[in-house]
C-alpha cells in the first residue's frame, strides 16, 4: 500500500533539485520587468531633464505656473488625505465592527471609486456642482462660491477617486486583530474614545499608513477626474500632474520632465515619512 508520503515523495524531490534554477529564473523575470517598466524610463527621464544642464531645471522650478501648481497640489493633498484617512478609518470600523442592514451597501460603495473611470467621476461632479446647469451648483454660485473650474471641485474629485484606499487597507487589519483587545481595554475602564486611541489605532497603524501612502500617491497623480473639473487654466487650476501635460503639449519637454521628477520625489518622500512613522513590529 502506498502511503501519502510515497505519493508526494518524487514530486518534492524534483522540486528541491530544480529549486535554484527556478529561483534564479523568477528573480531575473522580476528584475527585467521592473527594469523595463520602472527603472529605465525614470532614469531616462532624469537624464533628459538634466540634458541641457542645470539652468533649465532651475528655471522650471522657479516658474510662476510651476510654483502655483505645486501649491495647488499641496493644498489638495492637505485636504483630501486627512479627510479620507478619517473617513476611511471610520468606514472600516463601521463595516467590520458593526452589524446592521445596508452594511453591504457601504461595502460595495467603497469599491465603486475603484471601478468607475475618473473621467466619469469628473462629469458626475459637473452634473451636480456645475455653476449654470448643475444640481446644487447654481445655489453655491449665488452665494459666491464657484465650485467647478476651481479648487473646490478639484479637491472633491480627488477625494472621490481616493476615497476607498484607507478603508480598503484598514478593513482586513481590523478583522484580523479581532475584538479581544478592545474588550479587554473597556473592561479595564477605558472609554470607547480611549480604546480607539490607545488600542485600536496603534493596532491598525500599519494599514492606515499604507492606505495614506496609496491615497497620497493617487492624489498626486490623479489626472482624469481633476482634468475634467479643473478647466486646466495654467497658473490657476493646474495641479503638478496637469502642469506636466500642459508643458509637454507646449513643446517644453524639460519642464515636463522636471515636474515629473518633482512628483516622483514627493511620492517617495511620502513613502519614507510613513515608513518612519510606523515603527517595525516587535
Amino acid at each position: 500500500m502506498s502511503t501519502p508520503t510515497d505519493l508526494v515523495g518524487p514530486g518534492v524531490r524534483q522540486r528541491a533539485g530544480s529549486s535554484t534554477r527556478t529561483r534564479l529564473t523568477l528573480r531575473t523575470i522580476a528584475l527585467v520587468y521592473l527594469g523595463l517598466l520602472v527603472v529605465g524610463p525614470v532614469a531616462l527621464m532624469t537624464y533628459s531633464a538634466f540634458a541641457d544642464g542645470l539652468r533649465p531645471v532651475i528655471e522650471t522650478l522657479t516658474d510662476r505656473a510651476f510654483l502655483h501648481a505645486l501649491k495647488l497640489t499641496l493644498i489638495i493633498l492637505a485636504i483630501a488625505v486627512p479627510l479620507n484617512t478619517i473617513f476611511g478609518i471610520a468606514c472600516a470600523i463601521v463595516v467590520v465592527r458593526q452589524d446592521f442592514r445596508g452594511k453591504r451597501v457601504i461595502d460595495s460603495m467603497l469599491a465603486l471609486p475603484l471601478g468607475v473611470s475618473p473621467v466619469v467621476v469628473g462629469l458626475a461632479l459637473i452634473l451636480v456642482y456645475g455653476a449654470r446647469n448643475g444640481w446644487v451648483g447654481p445655489w453655491f454660485m449665488e452665494h459666491g462660491y464657484r465650485i467647478i473650474f476651481s479648487t473646490p471641485a478639484m479637491v472633491l474629485a480627488t477625494i472621490f477617486v481616493t476615497l476607498p484606499f484607507v478603508a480598503r487597507e484598514v478593513i482586513p487589519v481590523l478583522r484580523e486583530i479581532g475584538t479581544d483587545q478592545e474588550q479587554a481595554a473597556s473592561i479595564l475602564g477605558a472609554s470607547p474614545w480611549q480604546t480607539f486611541w490607545m488600542i485600536t489605532l496603534p493596532a491598525i497603524r500599519t494599514g492606515v499608513a499604507f492606505g495614506v501612502v496609496l491615497t497620497a500617491a493617487r492624489a498626486l497623480g490623479e489626472y482624469g477626474a481633476v482634468a475634467v473639473v479643473s478647466g486646466k487654466l495654467a497658473g490657476r487650476t493646474e495641479t503638478l500632474t496637469l502642469h506636466v501635460e500642459e508643458r509637454w503639449l507646449a513643446f517644453d519637454p524639460v519642464a515636463a520632465y522636471t515636474t515629473s521628477l518633482v512628483l516622483a520625489a514627493m511620492a517617495i518622500a511620502i513613502l519614507v515619512i510613513m515608513r518612519r512613522l510606523t515603527p517595525k513590529e516587535h
Binding site: D180, Q181, Q183, A184, A185, S186, I187, L188, G189, A190, S191, Q194, M198, I199, P202, A203, E281, H282
Partner: protein, 327 residues
Amino acid sequence: MGITVSRVSKRFADFVALDDVSVDVPDGSLTALLGPSGSGKSTLLRIIAGLETPDRGSVVISGRDVTGLAPQQRDVGFVFQHYAAFKHMTVRDNVGFGLRIRKMPKTEIRKRVDDLLALVQLDGFADRYPDQLSGGQRQRMALARALAVEPRVLLLDEPFGALDARVREELRDWLRRLHQQVHVTTVLVTHDQEEAMEVASRIVVMNHAQVVQIGTPAEIYDQPASDFVMGFVGRVNRLPGAYIRPHEVRICEPGEPGCAEAEVERFLAFGPEIRVELRLRENGQRLWAQLSATEQGMPDLTEGMVVGVDLSRARRVDEPAAAGGAR
C-alpha cells in the same frame, strides 16, 4: 455578596445560549462554569462582564445591580482565552493600563506594576513585548493586568485553553495558590472537567443553555444529578441502560453470587493504577475496571483469563446518584 445571576436568558438569532439561568457565586470563592462547547457557559461569563447584554434577567455583583451598566463601570477583571495582550505595549504598560486609565500617579503605577509582576512571577520581563513571551507568560501577564485595578470579581474565559498540557497543569496549580493569596471572587469557564475539579471549590455544570448541577467537586463526582453530568464529569463505562465508574467495578471469583463472567482482554499496570479491560461473556459488552495496585486479595490477572465482575454499583440511566450506593 459575590455574584448573583437571576433568571438570565439570551439568544443569538435562532440559537438559545442561555435559558432562564440562575447562579449564585459566593463571595471569595473560586467557581468553575463547566460544560461542553455551546452549553452557554462563556455567554454567561460575558454577560457577567457586560460584554453581552441579557435578553432577560439580572446580574448583581457585590450587592450592586449591574445589569444595565457598561463593562467599564462593573469593576470586574477579565482574562481571555487568547490573552488579548496589547501587542504594541510592553508588559509593564499592559499591566499598568487600567491604572493609567484611572489616572493614578506614575510612580504609584510603577510600584504597583512591579508588585503585580512579582506576584505573577514575571519580574524581569517588564520591558518585553507580549510576543517575546511564551503563552503561559502572556496569560500570567493578562492576569496581572486584570488584577491591577483590584476588581471585585475576576472572570476567566477558558484561560488555559490555548496552552499545552504541561503548562496548563502548572498554571492551574499556580492559579489555585494565587487565589488563596488574593481571595478575589473568581469565576472560571472551562470545558475540561479535570481542570474544574482541580482548581475550583464549586462547580456549576451547564448543558444546553441551562444549569444542570451546582456543587463541590466531590458532590458533582459522587452524586451526579443526571447521566449527562455523570458522563461528562469523570470517567465512565456505559452499559446498556446503565453507567458505572471504572473504580466501582469489582473483580471477583467467577461464579461468585452477583458476579457476571468476563474475559480479561488487556491488563495494564503502571504506577498506582491498574487498568483491566474486560469483555462480558453474556453479551460481549466491553468495559474497564480501575484497580488500585495496593488493593488486597487481588487474583493474579492475565490476559485471556476468565474472572467475575461485580457491577452492583452501576447506576441506571437517569437514576439519581445517591441510589447507586456511592459513598
